[in-house]
């Protein structure tokens, strides 16, 4: 086999290897969550993940077009109310292209926790989101404790148990 053909095949194999390894570099439990600074929906003031250091944070990536989000947001609201005042912060990051879509969605499914906007989708890229919605539970040092890709009502109890476990000294 001539050298140039070997080099060609080697290049293709290297590219495929690179693609597969990139795909496997998703955020996993134990990883430090990348920091972000995003505007609050309809307010514009900026919030960073580092603002919540030394607190347990639950981060949820959602969008108005995401079917399971119609179920998840009201349930997260009930969970937020349950853990209110216990040092557990809930952050929802909306990924809609148009802010009005998110506003209309929240008019039907209101939540009282902080909703941030990332229309440019830098955060889901940095956090390697594989499904919509995806949520992460972070400990006091912003390390991923657990993540949930997609949503099922059974996740709620898992989230509750994980938060309680973190709160236990």
């Amino acid at each position: 086999m001539p050298c140039s053909l070997k080099a060609c095949i080697g290049f293709v194999i290297a590219c495929m290897a690179l693609l597969t390894t990139t795909a496997s570099l998703a955020l996993e439990p134990g990883d430090k969550a990348p920091d972000f600074t995003l505007p609050v929906l309809q307010q514009g003031n900026l919030k960073s993940l580092s603002d919540y250091r030394a607190e347990i944070v639950y981060v949820d990536f959602w969008a108005s077009w995401c079917g399971p989000c119609r179920q998840s947001l009201p349930l997260y609201e009930s969970l937020f109310q349950e853990f209110a005042g216990q040092g557990v912060k809930f952050l929802a990051i909306n990924l809609d292209e148009h802010e009005q879509d998110a506003v209309n969605f929240l008019a039907e499914h209101p939540v009282s926790y902080t909703v941030l906007r990332d229309a440019a989708a830098h955060t889901p890229e940095a956090w390697q989101i594989k499904a919509m919605p995806t949520s992460f539970l972070l400990d006091e040092s912003s390390r991923v404790v657990k993540l949930w890709a997609g949503f099922e009502p059974s996740h709620l109890q898992e989230i509750r148990n994980a938060i309680l476990e973190l709160q236990t000294p």
């Binding site: 590219c15 995401c66 990924l95």
Partner: protein, 80 residues
């Protein structure tokens, strides 16, 4: 008689193969989960409006009723 055995040099074949593969790889741009909002829009549906589709099917089957409508014709001589 001259033989038509035109064989390109290996280097040229490899070069074209490499270029073709490079183009193929650059075309690999999967839709990210957060980009599926546009695909979720009603106008992106392959089936279109279900009511309009039902009306179209009704009109078509009425027009083609003599030949069996949208059902496939049976075998035989076609006289029944």
């Amino acid at each position: 008689m001259r033989s038509w055995n035109c064989r390109l040099p290996e280097r040229v074949i490899s070069g074209w193969l490499g270029l073709a593969l490079l183009c193929l790889l650059s075309a690999c741009a999967p839709v990210q989960p957060w980009e599926r909002g546009r695909l979720a829009q009603e106008r992106m549906s392959l089936e279109g409006d279900p009511l309009l589709q039902a009306m179209d099917e009704h009109v078509y089957s009425s027009k083609e009723a003599a030949s069996g409508g949208i059902e496939a014709a049976g075998g035989g001589c076609g006289c029944n």
